[in-house]
Point group: D2
Chain length 331, copies 4
């Protein structure tokens, strides 16, 4: 299913080289002032082509409100936002069709959808669909005043000096992975539940919806597995729940404890490496050498922070509404 | 919400020191032969007290079928399974009540539920509820013949020699974390979808429902963030999708590709360390020294594998039913 | 699926002649005082055998709280309530097994579940499962102070003189149908939405879950189809939305308008009539004469009002929680 | 929520006088050939202005596929269909704004959404949104070969002679209600479940999503409440479940029994009657006389059949997919 959320619920649709990509947001309170300008800054961040190592494909990425906004305010009904696809070069993909690209969804899509999938530019698998997610998150962010969500790349190709990490890849004429860290401040205690509705569960769920994510850890994460309990435990120091350390990353028992929410993601290297590769040719049934053409990011991690912030905002907004911390009418 | 799954759906209930813990499984096909013996082996594995480093609390853990089974077979209607709580020593917890235990849900539960939560033995937060999950998974496993799900601890306290890792903790009189790895063989290609219903999303969701899990990674995981694309890409070698390497861990584009499914979890050290700690006393509003009493695992990671297998089985069974790979009547 | 509700969510399980029937309520706020006595009056009303025309089967119907209640108050976690089955005479049903009873689910259950269904006493289809629904509704009613939900039989066998309608059936040695009307006072305006979450949609959904219901109408209902618009329209007379007439039955555009909520249900005659009938014998594949044995209501409509009130309470409670009209902690 | 369905799931959006109305269909199998022409016949039937008593508003109602269709076939991913709004005369509504129209959602919408709702032409409440529903149903119908769903008006203003019933309203210069009957042939036995997923529950749910529906009855319906059990019971005559009579209307125990599915709906008279009415003026807080302007149907029941067929198709398609009676890839 292409929907997510319980009260503040998003549904995505569209293909990379089809007419458009888009999103519908259901459950947004009425009365929130909303214009394309509110979404512009994050949509601009999401775009490629701005810095070294990102794809030169340039879409206008202008959010077209098709419903749910009236006189500049949300109506309480579904908000559908479209992004038209204009800057398309599908021929790159048609040529490539006989060899399912390693690391890409070509083979699984073909196997699962019987060849009926729109393979151009990754079709529905394309990261272009995150335009809708970033737009929806712009609304979520407006609903959560006082919350600060910040994600950034903290490592490229194992290198904390990001310039150097990227330069290594450029020198190697190869793509490269990275680590993204997200921190949220200003979050109330009491969001989430133990078990299936834990904050970690729901965040991890949506984070793995982002293409190229291969791992997530909260707080100290994998390093916690190497620690003793007396080191890892965060001593509570104040009546408001503030702890001395924050190994938990702000979530205990599935519930936010009012401390900074912290998690990190592993982003794999872009599958579309400029390097020559070997893989199976479907038509000849032979393993062949080939090279990938098209416009691609060298390091997709560089484009991930705004998307990570976006999915985080969607999840937190939904939790806030479940806890009645956002009213049904904004005035 | 305490339910999970779309077609094969489980709902958990109960408290550690209440009358019982239990689970209801909705959506199970009719006609599957089912008896308590089918669930016995995994329930036995789940129990503590068997090896060094696990809690000496011993419950009988006998699954009582309350509904949905007739003449030894499933009826197609909800199966409710109860585990009675007998071996309870709540006084340990009452004494502790004034100091919310670091790493435990005491503080967040109190904050969120206004003090009405059942705090005895962790109440609804207790890992004892995994008895129901393991039982439900026993049913899921019977529905998925030919599938092999295997999880094991591969590291304790940073040590791949598990005996040594555990001995370090015993020597330090401290609890310790660990890494659990899960591998699934025999899985068909084509389970899952891109975006919100990706195999990684749904697995990560349920895995973080397990208490003490702090991270998850698929395939090469966090190490992928340090790699070049040409290293990480798995070349497809056969028409059935088999790849030369398996850095993807069996999932590409959110969809299983028929290769081995591989993921690893970071398990934090047991919060109930035997070590003396400092934390806030709610009544005195002072930070005080204290020690935790009660029966606890030194390394909860040791008890995790059977639970990790269980949640994996639940998720895969649901995906299999969505793909019509399990019939509505088993004959 | 055997679950219903978005935030205040119930899940039913059990069989008529199995170990028990029961329900789990998820999403109930913490802090509500709750004891079996709170549920006793409605459970007593639900029982048969009290008046002419209802089954003499007598169950104790004592609600056993298995989870979610601590120190006499709800904890905010799932509340599971069991009703043990004690007064069972399954031999009546075993004898009957070769002829699927007309009006009953015997044939469809056998066809759908391949003969694995628990057929004794209707199994999971039995109205005995409404014990759980009535219990859950007792909780919902406590959460909605100031709301008055009242249902009653207003017609038996086409007769508004209920005694006479029932006597006709007794004289005819036959079962008989009836009409139940439900009225809710004190409901706030603003519950529900147009389209799929309309108050009528959700109420109708759950009302048809009650066995034997064959129709539902809101306000003037089917009679509205014979009217002119100028007759049917309810003129708004007051700023609080009160209307001169109430043909709408309190719901306009799917949303409550603050007037009395009114709907009526058609209940079919009990399928287990004492009259001799003809139907197919599965074993002989011949149409044969037969008579139904067992303890049955002559007019199930007589037992419906408390169940109709119950499902109404469940739906309204969920709508109230969606609109943030019930807090997460009751103090 | 503006979504409906479990596997074959639709989400509607849009407003009567906004940019568009539309629908997204998620869960449609891949490989179904699909073009606007497939949807044309039913969309044409849905349009007003064709016969006496329907609104002269004429929209082109051309379905624009925005996603999910590639090379003329469905891809297995969300299909979004838009209908642009062109033929709009909003000034009719602006003038009317001070008096909430009786029978319409004006008052409840204003109360619930704080005045932020798009009131033009009923906004999101408008029957214009059924264009999307009819389009989605066109897809569902293509997936269910061999199924015949037919709805028709069987009574207008209490008159089975439809011409006469309509003429009475025209003569009275008033709007009028009617009865719509829907019959489905070719349906397999075994769809649905007892309780919350009964065929009656889910059909009633979606049927009450249609504006102006005030009642629904299955089979003999309300008349069953006047019958004896021996009259109402449908004797099973054949091993395939065929019954002598069909008072049940094809559903027993919530499950289809393979006989014709039959249900009837009460449709209220169009709220926008040409007659002068009295109601409250919000601005003056006085009850005033007023008349409704704008283009409206005299008898909305006349436009209902195609919509009733549509929602029926959506529900049945979802049930068929749950029962694995429609494959995931159509070839």
């Amino acid at each position: 299913m292409n929907s997510f959320g319980q009260i503040f619920r998003v549904s995505i649709f569209g293909e990379s080289h089809g007419e458009c990509v888009g999103i519908t947001i259901d459950g947004c309170p009425a009365g929130l002032s909303l214009s394309p300008e509110d979404l512009a800054a994050d949509l601009e961040r999401r775009k490629g082509g701005k810095h070294k190592g990102t794809t030169p494909r340039q879409e206008e990425d202008f959010p077209i409100f098709k419903s749910g906004v009236f006189n500049g305010k949300t109506t309480g009904f579904p908000i559908t936002i479209l992004f038209e696809n204009k800057n398309i070069r599908s021929e790159d993909y048609t040529k490539q069709r006989s060899i399912p690209r390693p690391g890409h969804a070509d083979w699984v899509a073909h196997q699962k959808f019987g060849g009926f999938e729109d393979y151009r530019g990754g079709g529905h698998f394309s990261a272009r669909l995150t335009a809708g997610i970033v737009a929806a998150a712009g609304i979520a962010k407006k609903l959560m005043k006082g919350l600060n969500i910040h994600a950034e790349v903290i490592e490229i190709g194992g290198n904390k000096d990001l310039e150097k990490g990227l330069q290594n890849a450029i020198d190697a004429k190869d793509s490269v992975g990275g680590i993204v860290e997200c921190r949220v401040n200003g979050l109330p205690a009491g969001l989430g539940e133990p078990w299936f509705n834990s904050v970690e569960s729901v965040l991890a769920h949506i984070v793995f919806a982002i293409p190229a994510v291969r791992g997530i850890e909260f707080g100290t994460g994998f390093a916690a597995a190497k620690m003793f309990g007396s080191e890892h435990n965060d001593a509570i120091m104040e009546m408001d729940g503030r702890t001395k350390t924050n190994h938990a990353g702000g979530v205990v028992g599935g519930i936010t404890n009012g401390n900074e929410l912290v998690f990190r993601l592993a982003i794999k290297p872009t599958s579309s490496t400029p390097k020559e590769q070997k893989s199976l040719n479907w038509d000849t049934e032979q393993v062949e050498k080939f090279s990938i053409k098209g416009r691609h990011d060298l390091c997709v991690a560089l484009r991930a922070p705004v998307i990570v912030e976006a999915v985080t905002a969607l999840v937190l907004c939904d939790f806030m509404m479940l806890e009645q911390k956002i009213p049904r009418i904004i005035e």
